[in-house]
């Protein structure tokens, strides 16, 4: 099991810039830090073996071990304010849609200090709403509705304290009253203490305050479910008043000269948070005159349907008032917020490449990867390897295989390692975009500001084919190793750089080479690659299932992406109806295929099938004889198989496969040079977006859609595109000391693509 883990504050860094590293060590002895350049992360004895090159770093050395905790769980926090602290009587109310009401105590809305009193509207141990009040001198009363909430039903929850009578009232009202189900409740109780709201604690929504660590607020009692329209008043309202307030839109809660059905209550409103405002931000807005705005912590899900959603509108931007809910999860995590342990100002003589801070202590070792990209506007090579860091983030700490459902699709047993054990047992490190929260909702945000246990050299993936069994980060080292072995100079650049800088980042390169599985693309990233292709650039797509999902980056928060698994595709979870638009940008989410921009329009091929056992070689097609393709097959015997050996599944075509398809936008002049069709086992299945009706002929031996196509075509401006269409391909580059047909094909392509002589379209 791992004892040292860490993460950097960024993935890419330029010479002269500083990157910081956060580390948590369960050991007592100091650990050593060395910086290494990662060349080949695959430990398979049948391949070239693990290769890292130690480089002198100014901050190499010994560092003391210290444990750093992670505090998962999302909430909204509103700083303490005299308007809150000065309350004696109060009423708190919200619409809630609990998802795990029986999980244990959870905070809904609180101004609570563990030792200085306050109030907390909670779901109690029995799953019923309750108001807990404390006087700060040890007196605590909890008044429960004693009627457990039903999961995934909307309720109005109202709790009040009347200081003149020392009476607490708690009511719950289901929005939809199912016959024969007793879900309503009202309890009224006199208590013998006075809640102390002047407690120094912030107001919290979706949790309660536990302690402060400097400026950082540590919360506990995190809630699973949605909260909509939380409101706080300075006195208990009558039932008709409460009813009127609940029915009022947020613009009716402002003190204006315009007519409002609740004008008489406006002066009693302390705060009325409207979560439909500033959805793209980290703010929660109080629409009352007090403006007790707050911030969300650990990225709860926004742009989710509120209790007023009618089903008529699918885009939150059109009717934001119907998207007034936030979905909180006790297992949300954006930023582990560890303290930095060491940093590195990248020496100017370090070459661009894939690096890691290597942490060692006795038998324990951890690599914390980062990428040194060239100085702005000063590329050091003509070829850029585009590191698919967005896809690494998408799969960060993936738990999917740990469910029986996913494992049943493999056709063999999942193979875990100590790293997977850690991921399984340390749920606090957060989830990937493939996972479910504990409450069954899909995880739509993933950040890199936390240890990513499966994005490491030497890591073996539990479903990554026979042989090397690699995926994403470590699989991509097959390409880095090949570039070095073949003597090709290269820079590395990352997805986040591409998103931030667009075509500017690419304009000085002749060739952009992708990783093995560049699956997640923001609009800006995709636009940049299209622009590159259309301005004479040469694109070598070295993978499978690329350019597939649309993602969004957050406007304000670094290092986090969002996916909405809308409409189709291999979806381990499915976005809820009405929630297909990203909260970060408002863009329609899902597959690029479903948005009129199929992968074939960029790379000539797009995702068609996947399997997890063996790979198949490519057979040349008649198109391989076309004179336009002669440079690709130079030195290869006519009709010879391409990639008939390999570290990933034993051949070049495997794992996830892409095919050419005119209907999906493969250019009409594209050459389909070779294909793996007919070579795949029946564990390979056609992707669901190609299945218009359910049918049995979707397997490797029964469907022509199960294949990887190798494609070449010229582009406007003298550029060109070459695509392998297979994740496994890179594993076929190194056999026989890199002297094999797969390696030769890629070498031929790289050499010609580096030659500035324009490609002439046929």
């Amino acid at each position: 099991m791992l004892k040292i883990v860490g993460y950097p504050d960024r993935f890419s860094v330029r010479p002269g810039e500083t990157i910081r590293f956060m580390v948590s060590s369960e050991l007592s002895a100091p650990y050593r830090v060395d910086f290494v350049r990662i060349v080949h992360g695959d430990v398979n004895p049948d391949g070239p073996g693990f290769k890292e090159i130690r480089v002198d770093g100014p901050t190499s050395g010994s560092y003391p071990s210290r444990f750093q905790a992670i505090h998962p769980g999302s909430c909204a926090v509103v700083a303490d304010n005299p308007k809150l602290a000065g309350l004696s009587s109060f009423q708190v109310q919200a619409m809630i849609w609990p998802t795990l009401p029986a999980r244990g105590e959870q905070g809904l809305i609180a101004k609570w200090s563990p030792d200085r009193g306050g109030f907390a509207l909670v779901i109690d141990e029995t799953g019923a709403p309750a108001l807990r009040v404390a006087d700060g001198s040890g007196g605590v009363n909890t008044i429960s509705s004693s009627t457990p909430l039903i999961a995934r039903e909307w309720y109005r929850i109202v709790a009040s304290f009347d200081a003149t009578t020392n009476t607490v009232i708690v009511t719950q009202l289901p929005l939809f009253d199912h016959p024969l189900v007793s879900a309503k409740a009202r309890v009224e109780e006199r208590i013998d203490i006075t809640p102390q709201l002047d407690n120094g604690a912030p107001m919290t929504i979706g949790a309660w305050f536990e302690r402060a660590e400097g400026a950082r607020v540590i919360t506990a009692g995190h809630y699973d479910g949605k909260i909509d329209a939380p409101r706080l008043l300075r006195r208990p309202l009558s039932e008709p008043e409460t009813e009127a307030l609940a029915a009022a839109a947020s613009h009716h809660l402002r003190a204006t000269s315009f007519a409002s059905p609740v004008a008489a209550l406006v002066a009693d409103i302390v705060a009325a948070w409207d979560f439909s405002q500033e959805i793209e931000s980290t703010r929660v807005c109080d629409v009352s005159a007090n403006r007790l705005d707050g911030d969300i912590h650990n990225l709860p899900t926004r742009a989710v349907k509120g209790h007023t959603w009618t089903g008529e509108e699918m885009n939150w931007r059109h009717r934001p008032e119907q998207y007034g809910a936030i979905h909180f999860h006790h297992d949300d995590l954006y930023d582990a917020e560890w303290k930095p342990d060491f940093d590195l100002t990248v020496p100017t003589d370090w070459r661009s490449g894939s690096y890691a801070a290597r942490l060692t202590c006795g038998e324990y070792e951890e690599h914390v990867p980062f990428f040194v990209i060239p100085s702005r506007g000063k590329p050091t090579a003509k070829l850029a390897f585009l590191v698919p860091t967005a896809s690494y983030m998408a799969y960060a700490n993936e738990h999917l295989l740990m469910t029986g459902e996913a494992a049943a699709g493999l056709g063999r047993l999942a193979v875990f390692t100590a790293r997977d054990m850690y991921v399984n047992e340390h749920r606090e490190i957060g989830y990937s975009l493939y996972d479910y929260h504990a409450d069954g909702s899909g995880v739509c945000y993933s950040s890199r500001l936390r240890p990513i246990i499966n994005m490491r050299p030497k890591y073996q993936f539990g479903a990554g084919m026979t042989g090397s069994s690699l995926h994403q980060y470590n699989a991509d080292t097959h390409i880095l190793d090949w570039l070095e072995a073949m003597g090709h100079d290269y820079d590395v650049i990352t997805d986040e750089d591409l998103h931030d800088e667009g075509m500017t980042l690419l304009s000085d390169y002749h060739v952009v080479m992708t990783g093995t599985h560049p699956e997640y693309y923001s609009t800006a990233m995709l636009d940049a690659l299209h622009a590159f292709k259309h301005q004479g650039g040469r694109l070598i797509y070295m993978g499978g299932n690329g350019f597939y999902w649309r993602i969004a980056f957050h406007r304000d928060l670094p290092g986090v992406i969002e996916v909405r698994r809308a409409e189709g595709g291999i979806r381990t979870w499915i976005a809820e109806p009405g929630e297909y638009h990203h909260s970060f940008t408002g863009e329609y989410g899902g597959m690029w295929l479903r948005q009129g921009r199929p992968p074939q329009t960029l790379s000539g091929v797009g995702f068609t099938a996947q399997g997890f056992d063996l790979s198949a070689p490519y057979k040349p097609t008649p198109d391989s004889q076309d004179p336009r393709a002669a440079f690709i097959f130079e030195g290869i015997a006519e009709g010879a198989l391409i990639g008939d050996s390999g570290l990933v599944g034993g051949a070049a075509g495997g794992f996830e496969l892409d095919r050419a398809d005119r209907r999906h936008g493969t250019p009409p002049h594209a050459l389909v040079l070779a294909t793996t069709m007919g070579g795949h086992t029946d564990t390979y299945l056609v992707v669901p977006e190609e299945l218009h009706i359910t049918a049995a002929n979707i397997t490797g031996t029964s469907s022509p859609l199960v294949r990887a196509d190798m494609v070449f075509f010229e582009t406007p401006g003298g550029g060109a595109v070459f695509s392998t269409g297979s994740i496994a391909f890179a594993g076929s580059l190194s056999p026989n000391e890199y002297r094999n047909n797969a390696s030769r094909v890629i070498d031929n392509v790289v050499r010609r693509f580096l030659d500035k002589t324009a490609f002439v379209a046929p």
Binding site: V43, G404, L413, D613
Partner: protein, 109 residues
């Protein structure tokens, strides 16, 4: 609410009077399989009577153990540390033997 799926059992019944399917799997645990062996393997993966077996690679490319996922998410994988396999294929065969016994009552060697 009653969930009929809780009573579901795979309706396929394994029958291999001449041992052909067992031999086919033993010879090639992963790769191209006959349609009938595929159906047996599917049953082994989905039948609720079979535990959720996984493999644990203790030493990369050298040592594998058989494990089972714990019923509750996040609990440690239950490892059988007393038996170490030298290949994935050997471990797959051992799990196949167990599942065969569970589903047919017959031991295969």
């Amino acid at each position: 609410m009653y969930d009929p799926a809780q009573d579901w059992l795979d309706g396929y019944e394994i029958s291999d009077p001449d041992g052909r399917l067992v031999e086919e799997f033993r010879a090639r645990p992963m790769g191209f399989h006959s349609a009938e062996l595929q159906r047996v393997l599917l049953k082994m993966q989905i039948d609720p009577r079979c535990p959720n077996y996984v493999l644990f690679c203790r030493t990369p490319h050298k040592e594998w153990l058989i494990g089972r996922m714990a019923p509750r998410a996040g609990d440690p994988i239950l490892l059988e540390e007393d038996r170490v396999f030298a290949s994935v294929e050997d471990a797959e065969w051992a799990v196949f033997q167990r599942r065969w016994m569970l589903l047919t009552g017959e031991a295969i060697a």
